[in-house]
């Protein structure tokens, strides 16, 4: 009847990946990629059905790293879950801290001082840069460029991780943010070294791009591979660079304006085709935008307290109620859903893991592709198994 209705029908039909018809007479081959496959970044299995080289069916199998993080958190006090959030997406512990702190702050209606807001933005953007650099490095490594781009990414990441260590005491398991602020204050010397690192970042991205962006092998392998259509991406709750590479303008930093992101000028890079190359490009451009945010945030950081004076470290008991808080983590929308019943432990603690939900359409992206490209498509989703399996 109307256009809207046909669109709705199309959306309804998307609850399954399309069925594939085998070509030719040959038998189908079922293989298990993983759990110990070098490309799976941990323990993850894909049961792939192949017709020759073509992927006919792909079923991801999860749970090898499942430790029931949510159950552990429901048995612990609110603060005691903070170090556990570091271990979800262990590449981006500071983003995880922020998401959890944000959800709890929503639950109790806490305000965060200016200085702490700036520190959070600076750390979250540094996290985004190091995550994107490393994830591109891994993607290229899976394509066969064993090491070089990954080592360049890690060399730069090392500097950022050193910044984290000198501030929070740990390179990856930072456990830095608290409800209503941050744990330790940044010193002038730290800000100075952060400025030095940020000043070196544009040169690094330039070098990285010179190495990769116009590389013919990379283009041949990535362009037109693993295409994800925009409306399917939205319908399947895909978030982060994966969604924006499909051309959907949805960045929670812009939509929710959590923290103080409305004060900074930055653009949201969008892809055109939704293929692996676009995802690579969106990540590179996001690094550049993050550098822009850092260049604005570092000089503007005000003096003042870093903790809400009303915040309590011990004996924290939110009033009954519930809250869902979410941030734009480097991998996508990271949300925490908390229900309090007035006791020191959350009654319900739920993590919305971007890595897991972005894998919903892994099969759709891989169908009809070559088996060698599965590795590439999977790498371009950018997951961490600590977050997928929780």
């Amino acid at each position: 009847m109307s256009v809207a209705e046909t669109k709705a029908e199309k959306l309804d039909g998307w609850n399954r990946p399309p069925a594939m018809e085998p070509e030719g007479e040959g038998e189908l081959l079922e293989i298990a990629m993983g759990p110990h496959h070098p490309s799976t970044h941990g323990v993850f299995r894909m049961d792939v059905t192949l017709d020759g080289e073509r992927v006919m069916r792909l079923k991801p199998v999860f749970g090898y790293l499942h430790r029931n993080h949510e159950k552990i958190a429901e048995g612990a006090a609110y603060l005691a879950s903070m170090p556990y959030t570091d271990r979800l997406d262990y590449f981006c512990s500071l983003s995880n801290n922020w998401a959890y702190a944000l959800a709890v702050e929503k639950l109790v209606g806490q305000q965060v001082p200016e200085r702490a807001q700036y520190i959070r933005v600076i750390l979250a953007e540094l996290t985004r840069i190091q995550n994107h650099a490393a994830s591109i490095g891994f993607l290229i490594q899976e394509m066969g460029a064993s090491g070089t781009p990954l080592m360049y990414a890690f060399r730069q990441r090392e500097k950022i991780v050193d910044l984290f260590e000198s501030l929070t005491g740990s390179r990856m398991m930072c456990n830095y943010m608290r409800f209503g602020g941050c744990r330790v204050d940044v010193s002038a010397a730290w800000l100075e070294s952060a400025r030095t690192v940020v000043a070196g970042l544009p040169a690094f991205v330039d070098e990285f791009e010179a190495l990769l962006t116009t590389n013919e092998i990379l283009m041949a392998r990535c362009q037109g591979v693993g295409v994800l259509k925009a409306d399917l991406a939205v319908n399947a709750s895909v978030t982060g660079p994966l969604l924006r590479a499909s051309g959907v303008n949805y960045d929670i930093r812009k939509v929710d304006r959590y923290g103080i992101y409305d004060r900074f000028k930055f653009r949201v890079p969008l892809g055109d085709h939704g293929d692996v190359y676009d995802r690579y490009m969106v990540r590179v451009l996001e690094m550049r935008e993050s550098i822009r945010i850092l260049e604005q945030a570092l000089p503007a950081i005000p003096a003042g307290p870093i903790m809400d004076p009303k915040a309590k470290l011990r004996g924290f008991r939110p009033k009954p109620g519930e809250a869902y808080g979410r941030i734009e983590a480097p991998k996508g929308e990271l949300g925490f859903y908390l229900i309090s019943d007035g006791s020191p432990n959350p009654y319900r603690y739920r993590v919305r893991p971007p890595s897991l939900i972005n894998l919903t359409i892994l099969e759709d992206m891989c169908l009809g592709q070559n088996v060698a490209d599965v590795v590439l498509i999977f790498g371009s989703v950018d997951i961490v198994l600590g977050e997928v399996d929780r």
Partner: protein, 209 residues
Amino acid sequence: MLGEGILKGMAETAKNFAGSFVSEDRLTTVEYPEQRIPTFENARVFPFLVYDGSDWAAGMRCVACQICEKECPPKCIYIEKSQDKKPDFVGKPQFYPARFDIDVSVCMSCQICVEVCPFEAIKMDTEFELATDNRFGGLLLDREELAKSNEYYHRIHPTEADEVDARLNSEKAAAEAKAKAAAQAAAAKSADAAKPSPAKPAPSTGGED
């Protein structure tokens, strides 16, 4: 031209290869264990217990309040409170831990014990070479193994230790001043009691009586 991108990338790797011989910035790895990168002042590995003075048992700051045991997320701390009391740094009698174990195979270095400790007794160490051939007993540290002197604390976290010392000294000074004032008041009171001065009007309402 086909291959231009590859050549551009090759130029970049060549630059890095040559640069790694001259630029520290391009070669960041070191040959551990011969070479070491100094740890950061804020670095944290596993907790230790601070003691003052030279005798760890006498100078232990921990008063076995068991807050860290309760707040520890993975529950790696085990404390048994003593039966008797010993004087703490201000001279006030306090309990001490008869047993204080930290299982470092369970500890996740989150530092929450340090944050919640009201007595500045537990701090984070920077020692990371803890390999042992005994998986169970070797990684279960008792209070003697955990006790480290305040000097050691100053050596690994100088800024933080100075702050802590300043805070403790001011607390001690306040306690001493209070004790002194109390002693003086007591002395004055006993003097008053011995020699009641008729010039001083007696309080109209008997608050003390």
